[in-house]
């Protein structure tokens, strides 16, 4: 644990990628094999199931720190991270533990089955006897995802540096389901093991957002365009008569989409398709909101399957006849995919093809992009006809050209303190739109991002001087400032007071030129809902 905590401390002490990679590579060369496996697991978001719920942890931590629970909650809100809050509020200790990371994780796994009293005792004992960084890491292992500014890609790079195994091979090895409690470092990383490859997906190739006008990409004839569908990017694998469905988050989600079992026997073994899982109620593409009813559920009931069936919209073919064809040109891969589609297509099989469109000039491409909302896509993906299927987000061959977001002018009504860096500033805002009579502002969205630091400071200073009422961390403010709010999608919602839910709302700009009377109405917003 000491070594792991020290690693986290070192990673925390630099902002430079090379120094982070060096620190990780050094760790991978010197740590014990068991600890290495756990470190890989943790940094690729494979932590053991949470043994204690966070409500209890908050209660116990505030009791241990001898502060009222509300004060703990306020502190948590400001710090922004539960483990960090706990490590900060409980009395400091200079001690250190000799136990290995592996030992701690084994204990944490076993803790789940213990009684509440035993869990509490275990936490108290460790909080009491660990120094700040060890305590933070220990608590973080228990509370959840380990986001500490080290991406899986960066970790893979360091691992490659330490083992001299190619980065892409490592990315492949690390995908999928493996249990850090039982697998050895040799089996996971060092050994070549063909059987393991049965369920393994390929790393996804991701497109960069286009920077200039698409004309800068050169001859339009070298490019194909596809719509960018708004679902879950996935890989569907058929090997040895078995089906595996992977989401882009490298999560095996086969059980969630039983519809795809129909592929077995239809799509030949040794096939891997890259596509988008889309909701398809009433034989038409639904909204992302429809899909969310499927994502969240553990049990997929028959009723749900009838109400919100899904399809796979196929983009690309990565493996064919058991052969990795990623190095073949996109055009070639599409030919095989289209042939495959024509062979198996039927109303019974939930496989659709995402059409590839070729163009004579870039204006036509732009026109097609304008149609995106109409066909329920998020914009276009431009792919070079002769491009191989690469690993990760690479510039050059694939570009995404999303539609411009929807926008509306809204009035700032409430503000809340931000987290972490922004904890001394009011940076989390709530926005309202006018009702029909323009008498009352109805809350429609919250947004946290989109202003520069300088603008946030200005708005913060204004809020502090123009507070109407305080509700705990939230303040209502005099309606005075208008902001242009951008969002990606919009749908009716019974859960929101406004009757409308927006997707990814954020601040586009501060409209200091506008008075609040000039802000939009809720009716204006509702008119944006696709009919």
């Amino acid at each position: 644990m000491k070594q792991f905590a020290e690693l986290i401390r070192t990673l925390d002490s630099t902002n430079k990628t090379t120094l982070k990679v060096n620190a990780l590579a050094h760790y991978f060369k010197t740590a014990s094999d068991k600890d290495k496996v756990w470190t890989i697991a943790i940094l690729s978001h494979r932590r053991p199931p949470r043994p204690v719920n966070t409500t209890l942890m908050r209660q116990w931590a505030s009791a241990f720190a001898k502060i009222p629970l509300w004060l703990f909650e306020e502190s948590y809100h400001i710090v922004g991270d539960l483990a960090e809050t706990i490590a900060l509020v409980i009395p400091p200790s200079e001690e250190s533990s000799e136990k290995s990371l592996n030992q701690f994780l084994q204990e944490i796994i076993e803790l789940k089955a213990r009684s509440e009293e035993e869990k509490k005792e275990y936490l108290y004992e460790n909080w009491f006897s660990l120094n700040y960084y060890e305590r933070f890491v220990f608590t973080k292992l228990i509370t959840g995802s380990f986001r500490i500014g080290v991406s899986q890609k960066l970790m893979t790079r360091a691992l490659s540096k330490a083992t001299e195994i190619d980065e892409d091979i490592l990315a492949y090895k690390l995908m999928g389901n493996w249990d850090p409690a039982t697998i050895t470092f040799t089996d996971l990383i060092l050994k070549e093991n063909p059987e393991d490859y049965l369920s393994k997906p390929y790393p996804f190739y991701l497109a960069y957002a286009i920077e200039d006008e698409p004309q800068a990409l050169g001859d339009v004839k070298e490019w194909a365009a596809e719509h960018k569908w708004d679902g879950i990017r996935s890989q569907v694998i058929i090997r040895n008569g078995e089906l595996f469905v992977w989401s882009r988050g490298e999560e095996l989600v086969t059980e969630k989409y039983p519809e795809f079992e129909k592929f077995i026997g239809q799509i030949p073994d040794g096939t891997v398709i890259d596509g988008e899982i889309l909701p398809f109620p009433n034989n038409d593409i639904g909204t992302f909101k429809d899909l969310q009813t499927r994502i969240g559920r553990k049990n997929i009931t028959k009723k749900l399957l009838e109400k919100t069936p899904v399809i796979l919209k196929a983009y690309d073919l990565l493996e064919w006849d058991g052969e990795d064809i990623r190095k073949k040109a996109y055009q070639k891969r599409r030919e095989i995919l289209e042939k495959l589609f024509n062979d198996v297509a039927s109303d019974e099989i939930p496989l659709h093809l995402s059409s590839t469109i070729s163009f004579q000039n870039w204006d036509e491409v732009a026109k097609e992009r304008e149609r995106s909302r109409e066909v329920k896509s998020e914009g276009l993906i431009l792919k070079r006809w002769d491009s191989p299927y690469l690993v990760g987000r690479k510039k050059g061959d694939w570009w995404k050209w999303k539609v411009d977001p929807l926008t509306i002018d809204a009035v700032l009504t409430y503000a809340m303190r931000g987290h972490g860096r922004r904890s001394n500033l009011f940076t989390d805002y709530t926005f309202g739109l006018w009702d029909k009579e323009k008498e009352e502002l109805v809350t429609f969205a919250k947004a946290y991002s989109g202003l520069t630091d300088a603008e946030f400071r200005k708005v913060d200073a204004w809020i502090k001087k123009n507070t109407l009422e305080r509700f705990g961390p939230v303040r209502s403010v005099t309606p005075h400032h208008v902001f242009e709010i951008a969002f990606e999608g919009i749908a009716e919602s019974s859960r929101h007071k406004s009757g409308v839910a927006t997707r990814f709302p954020r601040i586009l700009r501060w409209r200091q030129d506008k008075k609040i009377e000039e802000a939009n109405t809720l009716e204006d917003l509702k008119n944006l809902i696709p009919k």
Binding site: D12, I78, E84, G420
Partner: protein, 339 residues
């Protein structure tokens, strides 16, 4: 209801009985000033009264002003109201302002810290009935470690950077933090370079305390000479062309906000040292208790949270809005006015 001895109005903290303001934020006739930071000593008052060690500092910042210096514990009476200044330990020359009238005593802290930083005269407890306190770091998450430990870490960091062939760039406010930092640097490691704003202020402070030699970075300073040494600069220089001269460099910030991992990370600073010129949570609570005050007024910082906690502890606590800034990890207008 009788008029309170000190009231908060549009211009600042007002003592009606004496017709005098404490740290006003709008121009007034007569102002008693707690310390030299720009949000407490503003431009435009007709007459300034402050501790005499703060006189050269605010003259440096505000130019030709009419200012009277007072000693520690020296009582001066205005319209029958007794005033005196007492060490606040925040920065050099920083004072708490004690106000006494008809047997009632109020103390305004300005900004303060309980730890002796080796430069400012250390904080002294002043008994009072009403205590007007800042609470910049009024959250239990803030706990300072002894400064000697922090300076050991800073010197180790500097040495390590030098071994790696890099220059250390350490950010701190020109007035207060900068001098506290350079006072405790281990000059056997290398030379201390400064940004112009830091150097000018340090020159003023040098008249009052012993500080190690520093060299201002000018257009003529050679890049090779800086390498491996340490540079003290205001936070506002981070990310500006000025800093390019230091390449290859590593950055660090010394501030109470560095308690939060996110504060350092998202601001793209390599290393954060937790070092503050304000009280931590326990420092605030201990000081408040020691004053014996029953009424507590929280001015700036986590005022709502802190006063609620005090109220639960049995104090008559409330908050008042002021225009004092909180110690901010970001570039602040404090710095802009100075540099």
């Amino acid at each position: 209801m009788k008029t309170p001895l000190l009231a908060f109005n549009q211009k600042g903290i007002y003592c009606e009985a004496a017709d005098v303001y404490l740290d006003p934020w709008k121009p007034v006739k007569k102002a008693i000033i707690s310390h030299g930071h720009a949000d407490h000593s503003r431009w435009g008052h007709q007459q300034y009264i402050t501790h005499h060690t703060n006189v050269p500092i605010i003259k440096h910042r505000l130019g030709d002003i009419s200012v009277t210096g007072k000693g520690w514990n020296e009582i001066f009476t205005i319209n029958g109201v007794k005033f005196s200044l007492h060490p606040a330990g925040h920065i050099i020359g920083s004072a708490q302002i004690r106000v006494e009238h008809k047997g009632e005593v109020w103390v305004f802290t300005g900004d303060y810290k309980t730890e002796d930083d080796g430069i400012a005269v250390p904080y002294e407890v002043v008994k009072c009935h009403t205590f007007i306190t800042e609470c910049t770091f009024g959250l239990p998450a803030f706990k300072w470690i002894p400064q000697q430990q922090v300076f050991n870490d800073i010197n180790t960091w500097w040495q390590q950077n030098q071994d790696d062939g890099r220059t250390s760039v350490l950010f701190g406010y020109s007035l207060g933090k900068a001098q506290r930092l350079l006072k405790h640097l281990d000059t056997s490691i290398g030379k201390i370079y400064t940004h112009g704003a830091v150097e000018n202020m340090t020159e003023v402070v040098r008249e009052l305390v012993d500080l190690p030699p520093t060299e201002k970075i000018t257009r003529d300073t050679k890049k090779e000479d800086i390498k491996g040494n340490i540079v003290i600069a205001p936070p506002s220089t981070h990310g500006t062309p000025w800093i390019k001269k230091m390449v290859p460099y590593v950055t660090a910030s010394a501030s109470g906000w560095m308690t939060f991992r996110g504060a350092r990370r998202r601001r793209a600073i390599d290393k954060g040292f937790v070092l503050s010129d304000h009280c931590d949570w326990q420092g605030l609570l201990t000081s408040i208790k020691a004053t014996g005050a029953e009424k507590i007024i929280c001015t700036h910082g986590y005022t709502d949270i802190f006063s609620r906690f005090l109220a639960e502890q049995g104090y008559d606590a409330r908050t008042e809005q002021t225009q004092y800034e909180e110690e901010n990890a970001e570039e602040s207008s404090k710095e802009k006015q100075e540099s």
